[in-house]
Structure formats: C-alpha cells, structure tokens
C-alpha cells in the first residue's frame, strides 16, 4: 500500500522537542560558578612555585581577556603550527602599546588558538612585581621576573616562555616610531635558550601600537611616580579613566619558524659573538614579519 502513511498522533515526534539550549547551559554555568567559588573559599586549588594559579586564570582572567581578544581587537593568529605542542620553547615578541596588552593577547592566542592550548609564561620587569595587585595578579596569570634563573627553570620544566626583549624601550616608545624594533636588551633570552637547548620562536604582533598611541611622555610625572614613562595618548589623560579604553585597532599575531638552539650545545651560551648573532637574527626575523603583517592588514581598524 504505497499510499498508506503513518499519521503521527503526537506532533512532538516530528520535531523532537529539545530543551532550550540557553537554559541548560545557564544552569551548568551557575553550577560551575558555585563549584569555583567553593574551591576559592576553601583554598582547594593548586598553584606552582612561581605563583601561577591555573584555576583563577582559566575561570576569571582568561574569560575577562577573551572579549577584548575576539570582539575588540578581532585578533587573527597565524603560524601556531610553529609553536611546539609539547616541551619548552621561548617565544620572543616585539613590545608596544604603552600597556602590556600585547603580552595578554599573545597569552590568549596561544591558549585559545593552539591545538595543545599552550600556556604562555610571561617574563616581566621587576617594576611589575613591585606594584600591589598588578604584581600578584601577574604571578597568578603565570608571569615571573625576567631573569635568567627563572627563564631557565621554566624552560627546563617544559614550559612555553614569553619574553619581550625590548622591555620599556619598546612599550614606551612614541607613536611615530611604531613598528621599529628597539635594541634587544643584552641578549639574555638567547643565553637562556642556549643553556636549555630550547627553540626560539619569533613572534610579531601588529595592532598594539594603535591601541594606545603614545603622542607624548610627561617625564616629570613619570619621575615623581617612579615609572619609566608617563604616557599621553589622544584620550589619556584628557578623558580621565575613559582614556584607559584602548582604541579598537585590528590585531595580527604571527608566530615564525622556530630557531633551533640545541645543536649549539649549552657551552655556546658563553660565546658572546654567537649570542649577538642569534639576537640579531631573531630581531631581523621579527622586523621582517612585522612589515609583512602591516602589508597584509587592510587598514588600522579593518
């Protein structure tokens, strides 16, 4: 009987009624939040010897940074395949943008866009760890002091370490010098990589320069506050706290091909010429990559 058909008695069978997805996830989210709060109140979570708190990072700090990463700066990540999925590696990047937002965005990029969800352990200046709140939060986010002892300890432990060799010279440079790399410190990062035999991964970050374009530097105020620079941007300090909102520039982060260091052997760290050459090689690679990314980007806001 080809014309015979099943007449459904309950139309529900035709379109299976799914529970509204929003309400279920809402309940789960509240449950997760409650469990998180319980852990926080009773101290039932792990931290490492550097003060890194993965529980807080995953549940509070990264979710706070994610909207900035996805919606505000619309960060595009290139070349994550150049970052090893396991083992130590030294990510060396250009530094810019008055506030170290570039470091935060690189952390989110490697955690969210890398298949192994790698954690970037940043190295920061001692000023960062002197400041109340900022210092302790940085440690909880996985940062530690930029010194060879800490860098080598992290690299030996198989961590991915993020370093900005330009330091304050890079992050506090005026807007007109944007995307020109400053001097790369004393090459301490190269010796750390050589001693531990870990690869150096050059990383170029485009977009941070326009987030807080620094058009002036009030040196007197900086000296009074004990800061390396006191920035003047088109919105800060003119608009007060509102001036802290970064401009919505378009960001591109590119990880370059790793520079292998294991074949030199740990003794090579004592050879200053090799250290200088490697430092220059990394610097040149990042500068080239910056120019390429700038050509690729259609407009500053695009």
């Amino acid at each position: 009987m080809p014309e015979a058909r099943v007449i459904p008695l309950r139309p529900d069978d035709e379109e299976p009624r799914l529970p509204p997805p929003s309400s279920a996830s809402w309940e789960e989210q509240v449950a997760d939040g409650l469990e998180f709060l319980r852990r926080r109140v009773t101290g039932d979570y792990d931290t490492d010897e550097f003060g890194f708190d993965p529980d807080l990072t995953d549940h509070v700090l990264l979710p706070l940074l994610r909207p900035l990463f996805e919606r505000w700066f619309r960060v595009e990540t290139h070349g994550v395949e150049n970052v090893p999925a396991t083992g130590g590696g030294l990510v060396v990047a250009n530094h810019s943008g008055t506030l170290p937002l570039d470091a935060m965005m690189a952390t989110v990029a490697l955690h969210d866009d890398h298949p192994a969800r790698r954690r970037l352990r940043l190295l920061g200046a001692d000023l960062v760890f002197d400041l109340p709140f900022i210092g302790s939060l940085s440690r909880k986010l996985g940062s530690t002091l930029a010194c060879n002892e800490d860098a080598e300890r992290l690299l030996t432990g198989g961590e991915l370490v993020g370093v900005f060799p330009e330091g304050f010279k890079g992050i506090g440079k005026p807007f007109r010098e944007r995307y020109t790399l400053q001097r790369f410190g004393r090459g301490g990062f190269v010796t750390a990589a050589l001693r531990t035999g870990t690869p150096i991964i050059p990383c170029a970050i485009v977009g941070a320069e326009e987030a807080y374009p620094m058009i002036g530097n009030v040196k007197t105020v900086a000296r009074l506050l004990g800061l390396p620079y006191f920035p003047v941007t088109p919105t800060f300090p003119a608009l007060g706290p509102l001036g802290l909102v970064p401009l919505p520039s378009k960001w591109l982060i590119a990880f370059g091909e790793p520079i292998e260091t294991a074949s030199y052997g740990p003794a090579a760290a004592e050879d200053p010429m090799l250290v200088f050459n490697l430092t220059d090689q990394v610097r040149e690679t990042i500068q080239q990559s910056l120019y390429q990314l700038l050509l690729q980007r259609k407009s500053v806001w695009g």
Partner: protein, 368 residues
C-alpha cells in the same frame, strides 16, 4: 663514624629539645649535652632522657669550658632566635644571635676535639623582594641584601660560620637553610601567625609559601648531626602554596590591610608579644620565598616525607577553622540544589507557557 659527644645549643625550645631527645635515644652516641639559658620545661626534661642539661649562656666564655672538659666532637648550633618577642626585644635578640654565635665559634676553634659543626640557618638569608628569582638555589644570593632583623642576623651568622670553616678546615661544617616550620607541636612565627582567627595581610600582595613539617626538620637535623654532609643545603617541603591559599585552607579569615596600617598594627601587637610584623616579616608576607631542594634530595640524601600541602594539613588538625570547609561545601551544595530546582521550575513554567500544539485531528486532515 657516629659522633661520640654531641653538644646541642637552644635545647629548651621545641626543635632543640626534640633533637637532643632523638640523639639521646641513639645508643651509638656516648653523651648528649644540651645547653640553654633557660631550663627546659618539666615535660621537655622527661623527653630529654639521658641528655645532660647545662644551664649556660653561649654569650659567656663558660661555654668553652663545657666543650673542652667534655671533649665534644659535634656541635649543633640551634640557639638562634627568629623573633624579638621570644628573646625580650630586638637588642637582646641580636646579641644572642650574633654575639652568641661568635662566642660559640671561638670556643669551638680552640677545642681540638670538635670535628663537626651543624648550623640551623634559615632561608631568610635570601631575603624577599620583587627583584628576586622565584626559586633560590644554594648558589644564589639575595638581590636586595636584608638590612636588618632576623635575615641580617642569619646572614651574619652564616658569615661567621664560613670564616670558622676556613680557619678550621678539619671541621666538617653543615649549614641547613630551613624554610618556615609548621606542624602540630612546633612553635614558629608562622604557626602563631596562622593561629589568629583573623589574619591581617598586606593588601594587594600574595606571598608564595614553602613549608617544612617539624618531623622532617627533626629528621634532617638528626641526619646532619650523625652523617657527614658538609656544605650548605636548602631544606623545604615539595611544592608551594600562596599565603591566601594557606589562610583559606585553614579556614581563617584574611584581612588585607594597606601596608602602612599593617606596620602600625605590627608595632602594637609586638608590644604584647603577639605576632611579629617587622618590616622584614612584612616583605616576606608580600613576596614570599621558595627554595630549590635538589641538593637536599640528591647530595644530602633526604626527601621530606611531607609536602608543603601535607604539612599544612597536619598542622590544620590542631587549629579550629573559623570557616569550616564542610560548611562551605554545605552552602555550595544547597545553592546547587536550589539552582537545580529553580531550573526545573523554570523548565515546567516554560512548557506551560508554550503555545498549545495543534490538535492531531486537524493535522491528520491536513496530511490527508
């Protein structure tokens, strides 16, 4: 070769007494001599067993006579005070620590019988600042040399012990840099600090804390006295905790105060011999300190039985939490149940509110 005659200074404190008692139990050791300025408590005296107690001040040359007449071959120096409260002010504390050590070392240098010197030092020698590496190995030094207090005393003491070792190369010297002690019986700066129901800390800072259980401290001291390790070694449990985490795990309430307020609170409480909030202690509370224990495990040959976490758990059994974790878990559980109920109710209400489905009869007609 086990030592024949051991002299332990600071025997009236818990750790010194415990070490003397442990050594007295070892039949291979002929004599154990305990020295302190104050006599041990009756309970401690019972535990000390065959230990001979000598009431002497190590700041007094008399100590030299004790060492010479008993022909002591091993000296364990533990009479080092870490808080001004415990020794009647900063002045007497410094005198006991520095002058006392100098006197003791002077006596040891004269005594031909001395073959071994064990110093109970502290990881405080590394200081605590924002410029320090996260983890100290024995070869590192404080980036900001401590300018006062216990840390300065410890540095001075280690300096004197090093010059003693140079002058008497035949004496094997071991310096043990202990992290903060914790445990149910020991009385340390940290244990009294954490016994307070409200724990004032520095606002905006969170220190990394590495703990050592009292049993491990005792085992390391015993091994250092009877073994032949020479050199400097960090002694601490595996793993670290943040100060805020320690306070939470103990069910204490953390009261973050701005650093200047904490300083005045410290002066106030110190007057009552309460808790030490000296500038040095404050720096420790701000930045904390972690040491690498590879030398302890590989060269010294001891792996602490308690990790930092386990040591804290053992200590926690002796403090009554202000916020018991069961209560927190209970509240979280009830809130969880409430959420589930609200969710379920919202689900049914949503179902009721949904427009009634078309009746099957009509549908059948349409389908036909």
């Amino acid at each position: 070769m086990p030592p024949a005659v051991v002299l332990v200074t600071g025997v009236s404190r818990w750790l010194g007494g415990a070490l003397a008692a442990e050594l007295a139990r070892d039949r291979a050791i002929e004599r154990v001599i305990g020295v302190d300025t104050v006599p041990p408590s009756p309970e401690m005296l019972r535990r000390l067993g065959r230990t001979e107690f000598v009431r002497a001040d190590i700041r007094n040359p008399l100590i030299g006579k004790v060492i010479a007449t008993a022909s002591v071959d091993t000296v364990v120096h533990m009479n080092i005070s870490s808080t001004p409260a415990g020794s009647g002010g900063r002045g007497p504390m410094k005198e006991l620590n520095v002058i006392g050590t100098m006197q003791l070392l002077a006596a040891c240098q004269r005594a031909e019988s001395v073959r071994r010197f064990v110093l109970k030092s502290s990881s405080a020698v590394y200081g605590a600042s924002s410029r320090d590496p996260a983890v100290f190995t024995e070869a590192m030094q404080a980036r900001r040399v401590p300018s006062g207090g216990f840390a300065r005393d410890s540095l001075d003491i280690e300096g004197y012990v090093r010059s003693f070792a140079r002058r008497r190369p035949d004496v094997r010297v071991a310096a043990l840099r202990f992290t903060n002690f914790i445990g149910p019986r020991i009385d340390s700066v940290l244990t009294s600090f954490l016994r307070m129901p409200l724990v004032p800390t520095a606002l905006g800072y969170d220190a990394r804390v590495q703990l050592l259980h009292e049993d491990d401290a005792l085992a390391v001291l015993t091994r250092a006295t009877t073994g032949d390790f020479a050199g400097t070694v960090n002694v601490g449990g595996e793993g670290t905790l943040l100060l805020s985490q320690v306070i939470r795990r103990l069910g204490r309430l953390q009261v973050p105060l701005p650093s200047p307020a904490l300083g005045s609170l410290g002066r106030f409480t110190r007057r009552f011999g309460f808790v030490d909030y000296s500038p040095e202690q404050m720096r420790f509370l701000n930045f904390g300190r972690v040491v690498d224990t590879t030398v302890l495990r590989e060269e010294f040959g001891y792996t602490p039985r308690y990790t930092t976490e386990q040591a804290l758990v053992d200590y926690a059994s002796t403090v009554v939490p202000v916020i018991p974790p069961e209560v927190v878990a209970g509240i979280a559980g009830r809130a969880q149940a409430l959420v589930t109920r609200v969710g379920a109710t919202a689900g049914t209400v949503g179902e009721r509110l949904r427009p009634a489905p078309p009746s099957p009869g009509l549908r059948a007609v349409r389908d036909a």
